[in-house]
Subunit: 375 residues, 2 copies
């Protein structure tokens, strides 16, 4: 059944108001509150202070309701009473003021770019790591991902399929594009991430690690056969692509299936999409707990007699890390990690081409989907 | 003056014939000739033999007319008379037959993918390096890049701007898309690489190494201000993007300006676009001799007082290599490499953000273009 997206835009006396506008307004409001808190203290003649959520591993807990790792209640106090806190306090305020300017100007930036602007404005960051850290602190304080204050990743995923979007970014507001009009895929940058979904004929979303396999799915017509949107992460999924996948799942009710290589890195790519990354435990809404890792599993290597390679030392190291990680203590993760240890081999998505280029779409895909739906 | 592209498609009794079709037909013809040569020998009862262009550095020479490095006249003989030649001979024929099947089926593949198909069909390749080598031998024998027999890179560049294209790939033949309709950019895969240019309002092409700077150019309206197409290589440009840039230059007469980081890797990215890479000296038509490296130059670091970092050991190593390379013996390369040695520092494209996000488009870009046009 094709889904028709309900546009969330509201009429506001002529000018359309998009979800992206509402998010932007809410974030600006939070920035304003942050500024006012500091300002009030200063006017009162007291030292400004902030409570900042602690982002250490000890303060990361699993939230059953959200089905993701989140920060616990531990806070660290940052007070201008302490001379050693003054520098990070000022850095944080500058980041917030820069974010505010970005939102007001309708411009975007990246972590790297922000660092250079800071240098230009005489803000004393030791290196980019330090400004990145402040951006993450701001995320945790205002409880919004940095994409919501227009700081986007450098990397680009791409998407293709039966979905019409409407842009909300300056210069393109109200314009629409049909994502089935370019089979190589639409790069997912600031404009696509913040677009509204207008009309969707797709019923499922396939998320694919590799460009070659994305092309294969397009060429074999997987988008039509399964009424599927195809999204190519180009390795580890950029954060804004994770956010987009979440929106496609929530707003359009699309089930999400993830296809990665059968190696510890592929396991990690799938898991970050599903459980979130440790680095972003302070961010809600960019993981997809309902998404399903559909392969390639370690057990598929034997089952499909896939051409495989020995696990490298780095794979082994990563596998040991996965084994310790609380996110991998249930099946299929536990079972598949065990299988990796048993066979000590890995295989790529392209390995199915052993049985011909169309095997992955014509044989593997229907088999796997049927199997997952029986669960 | 906006250019109107002259479509090269011809009417062929109803079914349109695209340039891509003509290329495909020519490549199939070359494959057929290759097969016939071997077959004829077999029928005659003599040992099949092939002369294969030598791709060693000693056989790479600069061709003044083509303004690129090409292979010299040195050939190596591969004869089935020699038992040690039998294996690579058979491997090469299999690659050619696979390429023929790809073209006939209208499907694409990658180097990696091809390796797995080979395994599946019982072809004895030690590893992927060996099958890659055979694909490059086939390129050199039939004098066509592998994209012309549908083997494409995994990586994706992206493009945005005032250009309407018409697809030639199965399922999309005759459909058109306006590349100004998606500001995050259209991924450049098999469909875009082989598309015809139908209508172009752009007068120049800016090729940009970094995603952040591509977004900056879009947001600051560089496409409109300069009537520019914007192409984002995402680091080293994938081969098919190089081919596309060449086509945009040749078919639409667009001047090409390249923007990279000011570091030895950025120099290399620009130079490969202009002179071709040593690895593809056996391929014609995927470099752009008229393209201009527009920055960031080593000399810009001092001139614009850009935030900079010390060259790493790897940068130093790469710089020494560049110094030995015949492609870098003229200015601006020689001059800028000298400057790198003098200051021993590097800077990124984003470093211009020191002067505000819009500086790179509003100040640097017009200054640099004026300067280059005076030369």
């Amino acid at each position: 059944m094709p889904r028709k997206a309900v546009s969330k835009s509201e009429d506001n006396g002529g000018e359309k108001v998009y979800t992206a506008d509402i998010i932007k307004k809410a974030v600006l409001e939070k920035m304003k509150n942050l500024g006012e808190r500091v300002y009030r203290d200063l006017v009162r003649g007291s030292f400004p202070e902030l409570d900042i959520p602690s982002r250490t591993t000890k303060n990361i807990v699993y939230n059953e309701e959200l089905r993701q790792y989140v920060l616990g209640g531990k806070m660290k106090e940052r007070t201008t009473r302490n001379i050693r806190h003054l520098r990070p306090f000022a850095q944080l305020l500058w980041i917030a003021s820069f974010a505010k300017r970005l939102l007001e100007a309708g411009k975007t930036s990246t972590l790297r770019d922000t660092y250079y602007v800071a240098i230009g404005e005489g803000i004393d960051f030791e290196d980019q790591d330090e400004s990145d850290e402040m951006i993450m602190e701001l995320e945790s304080i205002i409880d919004s991902p940095r994409e919501d204050f227009n700081i986007f990743p450098e990397e680009r995923a791409a998407i293709y399929g039966d979905l019409v979007i409407e842009y909300t970014v300056p210069g393109f507001r109200g314009k629409r594009v049909d994502l089935s009009s370019h089979p190589d895929g639409f790069a997912i940058g600031p404009a696509l991430t913040t677009a509204e979904f207008v009309k969707c004929g797709a019923e499922v979303l396939f998320v694919i690690e590799k460009g070659a396999v994305f092309s294969r799915f397009v060429e074999e017509g997987a988008d039509k056969k399964y009424k599927a949107l195809l999204l190519h992460t180009a390795g580890q999924s950029p954060r804004n692509a994770r956010k987009l996948i979440r929106r496609l799942h929530e707003e359009l009710n699309l089930p999400v299936y993830i296809f990665t290589d059968a190696d510890p890195y592929g396991v990690h790519i799938a898991s970050v999409l599903i459980h979130g990354s440790a680095l972003s435990a302070h961010i809600k809404g960019i993981n997809i707990p309902d998404a399903v890792w559909a392969g390639v599993w370690a057990s598929d290597i034997t089952r499909y007699k896939l051409p495989s390679m020995k696990l490298s030392d780095q794979d082994i190291k990563r596998l040991s890390e996965l084994e310790q990680d609380p996110r991998y203590q249930t099946d299929p993760w536990r079972k598949e990690i065990k299988e990796f240890w048993r066979i000590k081999r890995k295989a790529e998505l392209e390995a199915f081409s052993k049985y011909g280029l169309d095997f992955i779409v014509k044989e593997f895909l229907p088999e796997r989907l049927a199997e997952l739906q029986k669960r």
